[in-house]
Every structure is written in structure tokens, then in C-alpha cells.
């Protein structure tokens, strides 16, 4: 998803700024809490502050940064509560998107998804959380990308973006969850293959995500005693 309609046109400075800042947030250059100073970013990108301003506001609308009047913008973080909210929201919209998408998923897509899932299974051996998380996104993308309702699809993308700004992949925290996750993926694929009812699929997709959230919460609750391995 390299975005940008690639079509010739020089993107506007605003777009550039938006893409650049977003990239830096997602890849962790700007970690949560980082103070985004307009003038500095503008200078870095070789543009004036106005386009940067606009970019920041767009990112704010997406929830990636928090903006305070006359104070400035900070990368909006991952306090656990935020994570919870985002995951819960995503469980709902992604569940719906997957269900709506299901009838439009062809055999080829299922095969592709299954291949990705097998890769994830391999990945379980010599566990690589980052790669696993990436594959996880690929897998789910295949399932929900056919969603015919662009609004819902957009909400799903935003949710994933928020999560992406969590540097450390979820599965690092709850490695035990990974194996279950792979199994649930397979179950989800079977439901889709067999043309299960929409609400069936939706429920499964939603629970799949909720389970990850629950695992995270359980983990967080238990490690809360011993502070931060971070």
C-alpha cells in the first residue's frame, strides 16, 4: 500500500508533509509523546510551516497526534487505555468489514490468505514478533479489503494505522497469543469458504480481535506489579 496515486503529478507540499510525518510516526522515528514542533518539521522537509500545519491537523483527525491550542502537537501515544479503545473499535469495524467483504472473497484470495497464515505458522518456531505482526496485517487485509462500503473500510485502515504507531508489536507482549491466532485464522477462512452467514463471520472476526485484546489486558494486569520491561 505505497499510497499516492503515483500518477505523475507532484503532490502538494501538504501531502508530502503529511506522508512524511505519518511515516516517521509509524516507523517510530517520532515515538509517542514526541513533541512535534511545526517550524522544525517545516525546516526538515524544506517547506514552510503552513503545509505542515495542515498535515498535523489531518493526522490529528486520524488520531495519530494530539494537538493543543497554543501549545503544540505531540505524537499521541499508546497509553493502555487508548490501546484498549482502539482495539475495541477495530474489533467492531473490522468484524463488520470482514463480514461484508466475505461474499466477495474468491478462492484465489482464500488461497493467498491461507499461504500467509502458513507463513505465520512457520514464523511461530523462530518467533519474530515484527514479521509476525506484519503477516498478520497482510492476512486481515486480504479478508477485509473487498468490503464494498468505503467508509467502513476507511475506519478499518485508520484503526490499523493507530495500532501501527505502537512500536512494539502486540505479539511481543503476548507471545502465547500467536499460536491461537493462527488457528483462529484458519477457522475464519473455513467460515468464509463455506459461505457461512454474515453474522457468523462477523462474530468470529470480532472475537478474534477481542481475544488479542483480552490477552494483552491479562498480560498487562499481571506485569503491572513489576514495572516496565520496556
Amino acid at each position: 500500500m505505497t499510497e499516492t496515486a503515483t500518477a505523475a503529478g507532484p503532490r502538494s507540499k501538504s501531502e508530502q508533509a503529511y506522508a512524511a510525518v505519518k511515516a516517521r510516526i509509524v516507523d517510530g522515528t517520532y515515538s509517542p509523546g514526541y513533541r512535534l514542533v511545526l517550524a522544525k518539521i517545516a525546516e526538515d522537509l524544506g517547506v514552510s510551516v503552513v503545509p505542515v500545519r495542515e498535515a498535523i491537523r489531518r493526522l490529528e483527525a486520524e488520531g495519530l497526534v494530539k494537538f493543543e491550542r497554543n501549545v503544540g502537537a505531540t505524537v499521541s501515544g499508546i497509553d493502555p487505555t487508548e490501546y484498549l479503545y482502539t482495539m475495541q473499535t477495530l474489533s467492531i469495524v473490522e468484524g463488520a468489514a470482514t463480514a461484508l467483504s466475505a461474499p466477495l472473497i474468491g478462492a484465489a484470495d482464500v488461497a493467498r490468505a491461507r499461504a500467509v497464515n502458513e507463513e505465520m505458522r512457520d514464523c511461530l518456531e523462530h518467533f519474530d514478533p515484527v514479521r509476525f505482526t506484519r503477516l498478520n496485517q497482510d492476512f486481515h487485509s486480504i479478508l477485509f479489503e473487498h468490503c464494498p462500503n468505503p467508509h467502513i473500510l476507511d475506519l478499518v485502515h485508520r484503526g490499523w494505522n493507530r495500532l501501527a504507531s505502537l512500536r512494539s508489536s502486540t505479539f511481543r507482549f503476548v507471545p502465547g497469543r500467536a499460536r491461537d491466532s493462527v488457528d483462529e485464522h484458519e477457522a475464519l477462512l473455513r467460515l468464509i469458504e463455506t459461505g457461512a452467514a454474515a453474522d457468523e463471520i462477523e462474530k468470529a472476526a470480532r472475537l478474534h480481535r477481542s481475544a488479542t485484546l483480552d490477552a494483552y489486558l491479562a498480560q498487562a494486569a499481571s506485569t503491572e506489579q513489576q514495572p516496565a520491561q520496556q
Copy 2:
């Protein structure tokens, strides 16, 4: 009167512009397709174009206006497809919000909602679509406003905002739907009162909205040669 800041501090020009333009869209002064010219709006509001620009971008992010580079912004309309997408999305997020909110709804809230619903019932006699639609929003607001997840709540609000820019209230198009709607409201209240399971409430709330959408689609299909309902 428009100047006086409702709360404490003088809001920024951007905020003013945002609120002003949004209000004009919702109240129909700027009807769908209306061309929003930055300079003109800036002059009307007595500010420069920069804050207006920002306001427009925010509205774009919310889906109330469509923005095209080097061309300008237009009030993004109500083509039936958009309506469908918005309603479908809203059915999902509002259903979830209502379910999440349900455990936090007290007896007083239920009573208030019921009062509103009775008012709607009265309203059925000498049918006033605009008032009915307003009451409808009041009713649902009571049900979902307690939703503890701010993201979901935000999505619900955005959905309602989009619909608000539909000048003509839905119920004008499908008056037959109004009576059913009132009955379903009562059923929904009973579910909440009796502490029904969350998924029960969610399903009911979602279906309630879907039914309105379906009624609209049926109506549209019969009156016009409504193409593709997807």
C-alpha cells in the same frame, strides 16, 4: 450573538470558521454541491483564508465536504450511494455504542428516553418530519451517549453529522417507517431495562437502523429507477 464565546476563552479563528461552515452545511444554507470558495467564506467571517482552509480540511476529514486539489471544495452531498454507506456504517457503530452504553444507562435515562419516544408517538398524528427526526436523534443520543469508548462515540457523532446534512429528513421519504420506528424504540428500551445481553441489544439497535435504510431503499427503488443497491 454568534461572537460571544459560549465557554470561557475566545475560540481560535479556525474553530469559528469550522463551526460556522459546519452550521451552514447542517442547516442547509450550503446545500450539497455548493461550491465553497475560501476567499468568499473568509470575507464573510471576517478572517483570512488560512483558518478557513484549515476548517475546510477538518470538514473534509469528517466527510462533510469534498476537496479537490487546485479546484476547491464542495459540500459533499447525499447521492443515494453515500447515504447508503453512511447509514450502514452508522448501523454498525451505533449498534455497538448502544450496546456498550446500555449497562451505564440508569432508570432516569430510560424514563427520559421513553418520554421522548412518547412525544414522537404524538408526533405521528399531525406528522412533522423535521420535528420527528429531531426527536429521533434525541432519543438515540440518550441511548448511546454513555458509551465508554470515546472513539466509537466519535464515530457515531460523525455519522449523525453526515446524515444531518441531508436536509430533508429521512422520515419524509418513508413516513410508513415512523410508526414502526417508535415501536422498535420501545422494544429497545425494554431490552435495556431488563439488562439484556449486550449482543442482543446491539443486534436490535443495528436492525432498527437497517430497517430504516431498507425502507428508504425500497421507497427509492419504487419511485425512481434506483440503480444498484449493491
